[in-house]
Symmetry: C2
Subunit: 328 residues, 2 copies
DNA sequence: CTGAAAGCGCTTACAG
DNA sequence: CTGAAAGCGCTTACAG
């Protein structure tokens, strides 16, 4: 019972081509204002919605952008997804996510081809995921951040994580702290290389500022955090970089319990700006990200790719616009 | 450069129809084994993948199932998504999620129509979401759990939440606890009606077992939890139902700090079975859900809907198969 | 300025 | 048992 463009044309008393021209603002066509208005009104009155399958078949490309997201999306990733969604919606594209893990590359490829994505966003996939070349072979555009000076095994997510931690550290260094503790879980990242690279970079930054930089591995349990803080008693660090806001909140709590003043005796900074962070007392100092620039870059890249399928499938180097949200 | 079914037919030396029959196992067709094998081999060798847009245009229905997920998916929801994804993949359908919030129903409808979903899963949407009737008008099947004796304003997610809490409570009642505390945040659910209904049902259960049932509102901060536990000092409850595992862990910690033994003096039960729950000491007693039955029901309903578009768009009453995972 | 027509790649009656 | 052909609803050269 769906209304077709032919139906609109018939009712409006014009040809199907004219309907298409009007509705798509096809450049290089000169449609009289009256015809234009009539078509628009008829389409609206009839509740016309273009058949995406027919359009995709004809144009050769879908209108969905697929963002594979391994595992549950935390608060930060969720923000990124929302930003991308907004940017793509503004360009008449739809972002959908897939968090499934598939048994085989074949199965995964079949599943993804069923949604006919205009592009697949490769921001979080391991760089050596075998589905990526398979997708390209199947004719699906894969959009990935441009290779830069970073090692190729880092995903865009890894790069973001590293930048966020650098922002924490430089905030603390800028404020004059020279004995800094970095607190993280024993298993921080699936890929050891990413982890090692991050720590190296942070250490280098600290050394350049003649600051001490010590790494502490600790589980996120009240007992473990308290035990860690106890070991600091004699010679507490001036400042603590926490791997995320959950850790930061636990550490602040344990420090206060131990009779230390935050931030007077020890400064603590988290990462993620989780909504909860502003409710705790004292409210947390943390690193917040603004993904609108990144999302806009992604949407622009997709649009460009659709306009010119031969164009480079590289996302612009993401500017993460990380800002420190200071404790109120 | 994509391989078409016509190409496969040409190479295999058969007609396009035969290729379609073989690849789709079209019932009521008798294809000789040799022809069949030849087609299969050719398709595989050529790396043929059917064009989903063409297929959708012809058959009138897509192969994607859209699951709108408002907000970041927590651990439990993530499990449900994975289960649905698995069940649908097994039936040659792809589950995609959309967590965007749209400015208008029009915008949302346009966005969703771009992915041509075979069905939209209504498990978490507010029952009165205006997009639902709009979707139906646009010809998109909306799959929702069958209306039962529950009030119509409860989403399937609400029903699940209530069942999970009932499971907690009956576990504690079965173990003989008769003074039970329910600890929850001040703002538990967006919809007051859902909240009120839940509390009523729990109170009724407790009363039926001649148990005391008290509700405590408390933020998830160490200070708030500790303060709450302190108020219990004189007359501690026998058992605590926590709104989720995060609360449960915080409560266990505070109880132990206060010199009470868990579960000897006070039993505590959470909900969600978050991965972290099994790492804390003592490991948490919590309610875990098995979504495979639900997911299978959903996948079956979608399949049935595709086979017979006139069939009811109701999901079977979900059996949640909630199990208590006891502290090790 | 507007319309008639081709064709995207499938599936499926229908005819052999 | 297999093939020729129609047609799903669009967009877009092309012809007026």
């Amino acid at each position: 019972v769906a209304v077709t463009s032919a139906e609109v044309a018939r009712v409006a008393g014009v040809s199907q081509a004219t309907v298409s021209y009007v509705l798509n603002d096809t450049p290089g066509q000169t449609i009289s204002a009256t015809t234009r208005d009539r078509v628009l009104k008829t389409a609206h009155d009839l509740g016309y919605r273009p058949n995406a399958a027919a359009r995709s078949l004809r144009t050769g490309r879908g209108e969905a952008v697929l963002f594979p997201v391994p595992g549950p999306a935390g608060h930060v990733l969720s923000q990124l997804i929302d930003a991308c969604s907004d940017a793509l919606t503004a360009r008449d594209l739809t972002l959908v996510t897939d968090q499934a893990s598939y048994g085989s590359v074949e199965e995964q490829l079949d599943a993804w081809l069923r949604v006919r994505p205009a592009a697949v966003l490769d921001l979080l996939l391991p760089h050596d995921d075998p589905v990526l070349p398979a997708l390209r072979t199947a004719g699906v555009a894969v959009l990935a951040p441009s290779a830069s000076d970073e090692p190729s095994w880092e995903s865009a997510g890894d790069v973001f994580a590293i930048e966020a931690r650098k922002t924490q550290l430089s905030y603390l260094l800028d404020r004059g702290h020279r004995r800094i503790a970095f607190v993280r879980p024993a298993r921080m990242h699936a890929d050891k290389r990413v982890e090692r690279n991050l720590l190296q970079q942070l250490k280098r930054m600290a050394t350049a500022s003649r600051a001490e930089f010590n790494v502490f591995e600790c589980d996120l349990t009240p007992d473990a955090i308290r035990a860690l803080v106890r070991t600091w008693k004699k010679k507490a660090p001036h400042a603590v970089c926490a791997i995320n806001d959950d850790y930061a909140i636990a550490i602040v709590t344990a420090l206060i319990d131990a009779g230390l003043r935050v931030p007077h005796d020890v400064a603590v900074i988290g990462v993620d700006d989780i909504p909860f962070a502003s409710y705790v007392t004292p409210s947390l100092t943390t690193v917040a990200a603004d993904f609108t620039t990144l999302a806009d870059g992604i949407a622009t890249a997709v649009t460009q790719l659709l306009a010119d399928p031969a164009s480079r499938r590289e996302l612009p180097r993401p500017e993460h616009r990380l800002v420190v949200r200071e404790s109120a």
